[in-house]
């Protein structure tokens, strides 16, 4: 194997069975000057125009959200990644991720913006025909029109395809009559265009572009929400709404392709937005900890607080590594697909589909990272953290939605494993060969060969072991349970978590290796790497043990548990000292600084 150098780029999900090189990995330290300038622009906009009026936004002050979105449109933020021929700026996917991250710090505004530019605009860009694109995209990319996405209904959330909204072709064949009800529609209060999913004749799930001023379309009351209170969320009712046949989106009966493909990109973007919100809160927590004194000490002097500060940085830096790694892979894949004759929007969608597994992982870990950081922000602020007059309370409430929309985290965890197994079944991903060789390895004497001297050899070994562990657990589960595996969700969750841990660890390693190669890795970057590998090994082992014991027993279980132990091996390090060093850097910089 080793002598055959594989030049081909990594396919989606393939991280599990192939090694990646740091040279092929994009790291955020490589943004070019233009990307940095655009990022700064987005940040300046959020800091100077959005955050100062957060309170008014939360109270849904009349016209304010629209005004801010128009401003974002003027700056070009709504059309950054839209091709120039449709009135956008034609920027690459990585720049798009970066801008989403920066806007993500903007709370409710960020949600409105993301719904508009993502699930609102992209269905037309990716699935619309030329007339539809020409008609809507330029206006959506400047913000002259605002968009919303209507998939969820009172009776169908996670099970989106069970929608009841019905479409019926008129006798003269000129329009569809839409009837039904959608729920939880972001931007519902002011959108000019709705992407609506309905079943033609109660059967064929199909997408439609519906203009807000259509007769028979009404908006419900604003939902009273726990967080992102400034984001408009309403029910939308359709009563004999006439939708011209030209507004049918994509193909009849192929609405699921739109709904699911849009979500792939949406999930990575959700991670990016969560990243922006997380970094902002991490900074606010550091600032508070270095200023608040108790027992004659800054609370940042206390180990318990240092632990939290460091842990925030570890999570952020790790998820960020994976997020930009995946963004670059999607961009590269899109270019490959353009080479094979696809136009950019279709190519990008195909690329996101290819990396759907990675997108699902990022959605889950991005939203959970944010939840951890806002929770600790409240804790670090003590009583003030519980006061609505300080930032953490709102951030805490705003964060929670991220684990629910764009597919709940349960659904995304299930999808992670499901998509992987489906690809294996279709022969797109050869999990069988490596799984078999692991079976053999389990029977043989452990490999005590002398340690590899190359940099980061132990971490690379740990990654390769984690992948073996996953193939062992998943392979045995498939063999044993076969079709019944689908019903064993607890086990699927364990496997999803194991896959995610290895994916995140690998992404982190590739980043630190590359930083080391170009001479910009500090001791603290290596601390982040080491702590995460140390702790991930335990989490990995825990998930694996629960998985194995759920379906295996006796000698087979014992053998696999021994294997799992071998595959969860990590170097024992003094994580306390590492965390203290990481915290010291944060405290010195008085902000999130990695």
């Amino acid at each position: 194997m080793a002598d055959k150098i594989i030049k081909q780029a990594l396919k989606g999900g393939e991280f599990l069975i192939r090694e990646s090189s740091s040279a092929d990995t994009f790291i955020p330290e490589e943004f070019n000057e233009e990307q940095k300038m655009m990022a700064q622009m987005a940040e300046d906009f959020i800091d100077s125009e959005v955050l100062p009026v957060n309170e008014q936004i939360d109270h849904q002050e009349e016209g304010l959200m629209i005004k801010l979105m128009n401003k974002a449109g003027e700056l070009g933020l709504l059309g950054a990644t839209i091709p120039e021929e449709y009135g956008g700026f034609g920027k690459d996917f990585i720049t798009g991720t970066l801008l989403t991250e920066k806007i993500g710090a903007g709370g409710s505004f960020a949600v409105a913006c993301a719904a508009h530019t993502g699930i609102g605009t992209l269905p037309i860009l990716y699935f619309g025909n030329e007339e539809q694109r020409k008609k809507y995209i330029p206006k959506l990319s400047t913000g002259e029109m605002k968009a919303a996405y209507c998939l969820t209904e009172p009776g169908s959330g996670s099970d989106a395809l069970a929608a009841k909204t019905n479409a019926k072709l008129s006798a003269d064949g000129k329009y569809y009559l839409l009837n039904g009800q959608k729920m939880w529609i972001t931007n519902g209060g002011f959108a000019d265009v709705f992407i609506v999913f309905a079943k033609i004749d109660g059967e064929k799930f199909t997408g439609f572009i519906v203009e807000a001023n259509s007769e028979g379309l009404t908006r419900g009351e604003e939902e009273k929400k726990m967080g992102i209170k400034g984001s408009s969320t309403r029910q939308i009712f359709f009563q004999d709404v006439k939708v011209p046949v030209e507004n049918l989106l994509g193909e009849i009966g192929k609405g699921h392709l739109i709904a699911f493909n849009i979500l792939n990109i949406g999930r990575l973007k959700l991670c990016a937005a969560a990243m922006g919100a997380t970094k902002r809160m991490a900074t606010i927590s550091v600032e508070y900890a270095t200023q608040r004194e108790q027992f004659k000490h800054k609370i940042s002097d206390f180990g318990a607080i240092k632990y939290k500060l460091a842990e925030q940085a570890i999570k952020i830096f790790t998820v960020e590594s994976a997020m930009y790694r995946a963004s670059k892979q999607i961009e590269e894949k899109a270019h490959d697909l353009i080479g094979s004759g696809l136009e950019y929007p279709k190519a990008l969608m195909g690329a996101a589909e290819e990396f759907a597994i990675e997108c699902a992982i990022l959605k889950v870990y991005g939203s959970e990272m944010l939840d951890y950081v806002v929770d600790e922000a409240v804790q670090i602020h003590g009583g003030l953290g519980f006061s609505e007059e300080y930032t953490p309370a709102r951030a805490y409430r705003d964060s929670r939605i991220n684990r629910i929309f764009e597919g709940t985290n349960e659904i995304n965890r299930l999808l992670t494993v499901d998509m992987l197994l489906k690809r294996a079944m279709k022969g797109q991903l050869d999990l069988m060969t490596p799984a078999m060789s692991i079976q053999k390895e389990l029977m043989s004497i452990p490999d005590f060969s002398s340690e590899d001297e190359a940099p980061y050899a132990t971490q690379r070994k740990q990654i390769s072991n984690m992948k073996k562990g996953i193939l062992m657990v998943a392979g045995a589960a498939v063999q044993k349970l076969m079709m019944a595996l689908e019903g064993e969700q607890e086990l699927l969750m364990n496997i999803a978590n194991m896959i995610s841990e290895s994916y995140l660890c690998e992404s982190l390693l590739l980043r630190v290796m590359k930083m080391n190669e170009i001479g910009i890795a500090s001791a603290e970057h290596n601390d982040i790497l080491n702590v995460n590998f140390h702790d991930a090994a335990d989490r990995f082992h825990f998930e694996g043990r629960n998985a194995l014991s759920s379906f295996a027993e006796g000698d087979e279980l014992r053998m696999m548990l021994l294997g799992l132990k071998r595959f969860s091996k990590t170097e024992i390090i003094n994580t306390k000292d590492c965390r203290r060093r990481i915290a010291a850097r944060l405290i010195d910089a008085n902000k999130y600084c990695f």
Binding site: E33, E34, M37, M38, M41, D44, F45, S48, E74, L75, G76, L77, G79, A80, F89, K91, D588, A589, N590, K591
Partner: protein, 246 residues
């Protein structure tokens, strides 16, 4: 109307200041540099506003090495038409002023705008020196600027209020808060910045008057001591014995 706006790079306001080489050099490591806010927010934006209203061109000029390219492009992204970089490390205010004055002599401008100071050394000297070297009028601390033909009307900050002055172009001004509002560059501007001309001009040889002996950080502020209002004796004793001010 041809506007020339002087811009310099300054460390981001959150920078931790540190020195190297036995406290004789500012430590650039990990420092993020920005366009000096007085130059960007007030001088540049006002020049752009006037150009948009009256026509003309806005050129930015910087005395600095290649590490200034990023801040130059930021100014271009905000809307300047072109840029000039005089290829030299800025040594002190006189050096910078001589470089700029020399350039202005060779290239006619109607108005030279500076920020009222840079936020690093806070010298507030360059504008006045340029005016002196050119023998032009100088209005410092201007918080507004209107142009009518070759007559300019400016408000100047003075203690307790402001004064209004009228000057004939060409002249030099230093811009203070109030002259304009910060502008966030848009996507189009940022993308256009890459293609706008930046002329790199060799340094004009001149004598150098200053050398840095050493830098020093201000003493760390000590904590605040709270004394209860009914304990005046303690306050007096602290002021006398510890603070040694009475």
């Amino acid at each position: 109307m041809k506007f020339l706006v002087c811009i310099s790079k300054a460390p981001d306001t959150t920078t931790k200041i540190a020195f190297t080489d036995n406290n004789t050099k500012f430590n650039n490591d990990k420092v993020v540099f920005i366009v000096n806010p007085y130059d960007e927010w007030y001088a540049l934006v006002r020049a752009l506003e006037l150009k948009e209203k009256l026509g003309g061109t806005v050129t930015v000029i910087n005395v600095g090495a290649t590490d200034c390219d990023a801040i130059i492009r930021k100014a271009l992204a905000i809307g300047a038409d072109d840029a000039v970089r005089i290829d030299a490390e800025p040594i002190d205010a006189m050096f910078v002023a001589k470089q700029i004055a020399q350039y202005v002599k060779a290239n006619a401008y109607d108005l030279v705008l500076c920020g009222k100071e840079t936020i690093d050394y806070n010298g507030s000297e360059v504008g006045g020196m340029i005016a002196g070297l050119l023998d032009w009028g100088y209005v410092s601390l201007a918080s507004s600027l209107e142009l009518n033909g070759d007559l300019a009307t400016l408000n100047r900050e003075i203690a307790g209020g402001y004064e209004t002055v009228v000057v004939k172009t060409p002249f030099v001004l230093s811009a203070a808060k109030g002259m304009a509002e910060a502008r966030i560059p848009n996507m189009r501007g940022i993308m256009a910045a890459r293609t706008k001309p930046v002329a790199v001009v060799p340094v004009f040889a001149c004598e150098n008057y200053t050398t840095i002996l050493s830098y020093e950080l201000p003493k760390e502020k000590t904590g605040v001591k709270l004394v209860s209002p009914d304990n005046v004796d303690e306050l007096v004793s602290l002021l006398h014995n510890e603070a040694k001010v009475i």
